[in-house]
């Protein structure tokens, strides 16, 4: 059996198209992305945190190229009295919730949660954010335009911006120490924690550990691992003994990831490109045809008028009408005269009688 060159190329082309279409069909179907296998994460245990701010210091130390030393030193715990959020000079902050639990204050560390399907990455129009296989969500300042849509999109209010830089402001955000993880080191904050309130590991192991903690310490933890499902899940996980909403963590975020929230609107966009030309082209064709028909009818009417000679016809009509009028008038007058004559005659006779 011999295969011609053309036939061979045709077959290859068909195979290529099948592969391509197969891929598309899968993406458009009910395909579910489970996330990278074996990604890392951190489990934060609020029952163990003592609010020492060593994690903040550790973070600054490993990121000292980007983060300046704070004006108030890290061992000053008075800053815990006011609520704080991440800022362009602090990737992570610890907040104190004095009235959160019956057994004294509860401390919570705040930093990027490294979502499984990050809102920031989904929102970025220059792909400045990357969800890495390590689990870390990292930022690339080399393409960033500085539109700050990532900050609008993040449900945890994490990304921050260098508002006081005139020409090259960056988005500032925790990197989960992605470069250190690649070197086999722990994230700066985890390494600095003296109480094991932070544990680093594979996300699936951390989830199991969290469940284990909850199960083997009855009454200590609430049965909720924050970050397992919130906004589609995150690589940073939390367990606590008090309701999350009491320690500044929103419980109403839902489990739908950011890409899913915008997927519908984004998918509808190309429909406009497909439908409008057809619809508007149709409307244009109809209105154009109406114009044409109207013009043709007017022309035909004019033509018909000309063939009969509108002017002469009009004249004839006028003449005919005039003639008719004359005749009618004559006839009426004749009748009238006759009647008058008859009446006069009748009167005359009557008078005689």
């Amino acid at each position: 059996m011999s295969i011609s060159r053309r036939k061979f190329l045709g077959l290859i082309g068909t195979a290529g198209a099948t592969v391509a279409l197969g891929g598309v069909a899968q993406a458009a179907g009910n395909h579910h992305f489970e996330g990278y296998p074996d990604t890392y994460g951190v489990l934060f245990d609020a029952t163990l945190c003592i609010g020492c701010r060593k994690c903040e210091a550790g973070c600054q130390k490993v990121n000292e190229q980007d983060l300046p030393k704070p004006e108030v030193p890290f061992d000053d715990l008075k800053v815990l009295d006011a609520p704080r959020r991440t800022s362009a000079t602090a990737y992570t902050v610890v907040n104190k919730f004095a009235d959160a639990g019956a057994k004294g204050p509860v401390f919570v560390k705040k930093q990027c949660n490294h979502c499984l399907e990050p809102a920031c990455a989904s929102a970025c129009f220059v792909k400045a954010f990357t969800k890495n296989a390590t689990g870390a969500v990292t930022y690339n300042a080399n393409v960033c335009v500085g539109c700050r849509y990532c900050m609008v999109a993040c449900p945890f209010n994490i990304p921050t911006y260098e508002y006081n830089k005139a020409l090259a402001p960056r988005i500032m955000k925790c990197t989960m120490c992605h470069p250190r993880i690649l070197e086999g080191k722990l994230p700066g904050c985890v390494e600095a924690c003296p109480k094991e309130a932070l544990s680093f590991g594979k996300r699936k192991d951390l989830l199991a550990a969290a469940r284990d903690k909850i199960r083997s310490n009855p009454g200590v933890y609430l049965d909720h691992v924050y970050g397992e499902a919130e906004m589609g899940g995150s690589n940073w996980l939390y367990v606590t003994g008090v309701p999350f909403k009491n320690i500044g963590m929103r419980e109403d975020l839902g489990v739908t990831s950011a890409p899913e929230l915008t997927h519908g609107a984004l998918a509808a966009v190309p429909v406009a490109a497909g439908l409008w030309p057809v619809l508007l082209g149709g409307i244009y064709a109809v209105s154009k045809r109406n114009e044409k028909v109207a013009a043709a009818e007017a022309k035909a009417a004019a033509k018909a008028g000309k063939a009969g000679g509108i002017d002469t016809a009009g004249e004839a009509l006028t003449k005919a009408l005039n003639k008719l009028d004359d005749e009618t008038a004559k006839k009426v007058k004749g009748d009238y005269d006759k009647a008058l004559a008859a009446l006069t005659a009748k009167k005359h006779h009557g008078g005689d009688e």
Binding site: V126, K127, A128, V145, R148, V152, Y161, Y163, A166, L280
Partner: protein, 393 residues
């Protein structure tokens, strides 16, 4: 002197508006200097919690919505075959073109590295982002509007050949392009907020946001043509030819009728939206009251007033209603981007624009008006160029 200038219809250089404009330009130049030497923090109240402020809420969202007169008017004229509105197309296209051009200009102040604005399209396209979709469409649409506007400039310059090609061959294609691109980015501006259900108040958050933004852009565009046309008739009356003057009343009635019907439909869609998310309970709150003010005062009321104006042929009423509608659109965009956004944050963390932000916004509007005036007093916008009479599409 002033009598004479009024007679010729050409006021001198020193007018109240010009004095105001010069002051605004000086302040604007100073604020621009601050912005590009000390960063956004120096002249804005933007913060990590409130990354988008007046320049997005007003300059971008309102600017784009109110520039919708371009696609609505050209579609009515060229696609729906309402040729009698031909004289209104040029002013509408010019307004839209300048509107979009200044939206992009304003973005240069807001984004951190404006010279990278082409990046999303040419360097690193982030196709999962609705902002990418907005950027791409605005970029293409600005080009389309430029090509739609450029015949006026070519007539002014006396370049016949290129002008004839654009007018005779491209008008319909450009118009349909305009509708496609407008549908996409007008709706996508609303869809930007669908990513943040936890930040936008439930009454304003809806999966229908893209639809709301697109539909409202239609009556925004129609109303803006009436509103801006009325102002132009006051200040540029001497520039208008008979066709333009004669057609305007007819246009007002037709556009008011269209806007009234679309607003009625929009009202129903908003109610459906509340129903779909079962947000009725929120109507009893303070935000609910504010929502009802927007819905009844700035959608239902103008829809009704337009209808009365059309029925009674009351042009004055229609013109005032167009102003009300324009204010209503701005209110809606402010509500989505500023008032109802971050509604759960404590008052201390909420945003209110700084004087610098107001200053830049006023600076940009003033620039727009100056360029608009420069063009209409020189190029055939309100009248047909004698050399090109009856040679339009």
């Amino acid at each position: 002197m002033s009598d004479q200038s009024q007679q010729t219809g050409k006021p001198g250089l020193i007018t109240p508006f010009n004095i105001f404009a010069v002051i605004v330009l000086i302040i604007g130049a100073y604020l621009t200097f601050l912005r590009f030497t000390q960063g956004l923090g120096s002249i804005t109240h933007l913060s990590d919690n409130n990354p988008w402020g007046l320049w997005i809420g007003f300059d971008l969202l309102c600017g784009v919505a109110l520039a919708a007169g371009g696609y609505t008017t050209s579609t009515a004229c060229y696609v729906f075959g309402m040729k009698r509105f031909h004289a209104a197309v040029r002013p509408a296209i010019l307004t839209a073109f300048l509107g979009y051009a200044f939206v992009v200009f304003a973005l240069n102040y807001d984004v951190g590295r404006p010279w990278r604005l082409p990046y999303p399209i040419f360097v690193s396209p982030g196709t999962t982002s609705l902002l990418y979709e907005v950027g791409l469409c605005v970029f293409i649409y600005l080009t389309v509007l430029f090509v739609e506007w450029v015949p006026a400039a070519l007539e002014w310059l006396g370049i016949k050949k290129t002008r004839d090609v654009i007018v005779n061959k491209l008008t319909l294609v450009l118009t349909i392009f305009g509708v496609i691109l407008s549908t996409m980015h007008q709706s996508s501006l609303g869809a930007l907020y669908t990513i943040a259900p936890s930040k936008l108040h439930p009454l304003w958050y809806s999966q229908y946001l893209p639809l709301y933004f697109f539909i409202s852009s239609m009556f925004a565009g129609l109303s803006m043509v009436i509103f801006e046309g009325s102002i132009s008739h006051r200040y540029f009356h001497h520039l208008m030819d008979e066709e333009h003057k004669a057609g305007f009343n007819d246009l007002i009635l037709a556009f008011a009728k269209g806007a009234s019907i679309i607003m009625a439909g929009y009202f129903i869609m908003k109610v459906v939206g509340i129903s779909a998310d079962d947000n009725w309970a929120y109507l009893g709150t303070g935000y609910g009251l504010w929502y009802l003010v927007e819905l009844f005062g700035f959608v239902a009321l103008p829809s009704f007033l337009y209808a009365i104006g059309v029925r009674e042929k009351n042009l004055k009423l229609i013109q005032w209603t167009s102003a009300l509608t324009v204010v209503g659109i701005m209110l809606n965009r402010f509500n989505v981007s500023l008032v109802a956004f971050n509604w759960q944050l404590p008052a201390a963390d909420r945003y209110f624009p700084s004087w610098g932000e107001f200053g830049i916004s006023i600076f940009i509007i003033t620039l727009l008006i100056l360029v608009f005036r420069f063009i209409v007093t020189r190029m055939p916008i309100f009248y047909e160029h004698p050399q090109f009479k009856d040679s339009h599409h």
